[in-house]
Symmetry: C2
Subunit: 196 residues, 2 copies
């Protein structure tokens, strides 16, 4: 009977976003149901529409843009913290490891196909600006500083991003520690596979 306003004013929406972020970043758009989210938050499905009148898609987009903004800040900060290419890449890898696993291909390939086509360019732009661009910028500066050979920045940025996203799996499926996986990945990116 009691319409439990369990959370303080404005808090409810934050909780919804937080729970939805956990789910949308680890599972695909269609496998996450409003039922799942509402149950985890502790409210009824219909209540989600109060905060997000546009329903599931609006909630997903809010989560995605919020999450991308966090990545952008985190990656730009990581790039500024490191003094050379190796350090910058290490800080970035640490940032990826500090957050829950980001399934990059899931968002850019699978999820993107399930939302309203008119919203796709915005999502692609958001992912590009927040993930690819900080890396391209860092790689360009590294090349200008003579720390990197002249590769196509976008291609390398994609490879680096996917490698970093996979760090969580490396730690999970191999017997390696996260520190070891991190140094191995950074060394491989900077020095290559061939013997030094």
């Amino acid at each position: 009977m009691a319409a439990k306003t369990q959370f303080a004013y404005g808090e409810g929406k934050e909780r919804v976003l937080h729970v939805a972020e956990e789910m949308f970043l680890s599972r695909c758009y269609s496998s996450v149901t409003l039922r799942d989210i509402a149950a985890e938050v502790g409210i009824k499905e219909a209540s989600l529409y109060y905060h997000f009148p546009g329903g599931k898609e609006e909630l997903f987009l809010a989560v995605l843009h919020r999450s991308m903004a966090a990545y952008r800040t985190g990656l730009e900060h990581a790039a500024n913290e490191g003094r050379d290419l190796r350090e910058k890449l290490t800080k970035m890898a640490l940032w990826f490891l500090s957050r829950r696993q980001l399934n990059l291909q899931l968002i850019t390939d699978s999820d993107l196909a399930e939302i309203d086509p008119s919203k796709r360019p915005e999502v692609e732009r958001s992912a590009y600006e927040s993930l690819v661009k900080p890396l391209v910028k860092m790689l360009s500066e590294a090349e200008a500083a003579g720390e990197s050979a002249s590769y196509n920045k976008e291609v390398v940025a994609g490879a680096v991003l996917n490698t970093m996203c996979d760090l969580h799996n490396a730690v999970r499926y191999s017997t390696v520690t996260s520190e070891e996986a991190l140094t191995d990945v950074v060394d491989m990116l900077v020095d290559g596979l061939r013997p030094r």
Copy 2:
């Protein structure tokens, strides 16, 4: 009226597998419906149960194991074709580019969570044996031949696989040609980012 046996004996099942493979490898498990598959094949949903009595999950598992077997063959063949590490990696990258995009994280993270838990180990094993193992083997041989420094093979294999899967995106989103993306990626893997 006419129960159209459009395909020759045994052909129907092959068509279903082919269509299902196209869909399951590019979209997530829950977004692919039996309706989609049946429509694309040109039969009714109920007819799918004749070939796959276990329904959607059985069809998905059949597709996945079939697809993994093809990757295993393709990658092992690629490794044998190349004479040194750089050539082997190039042949492997060409194999990935020759097939439709494989969304690795989609399968190992997202799809895996949606199937019957008792089937998961089998899927993980299939993906490991077909994708990771051929790379680990090649990297071990390269190290033994003095062509590679001593990295953790599983960690590097994951990085290489994700990088190769991403080649399709690199070509799609950047202005780069597939040849250029391929050589850049292989060069980066072998020589590293730092100037030679």
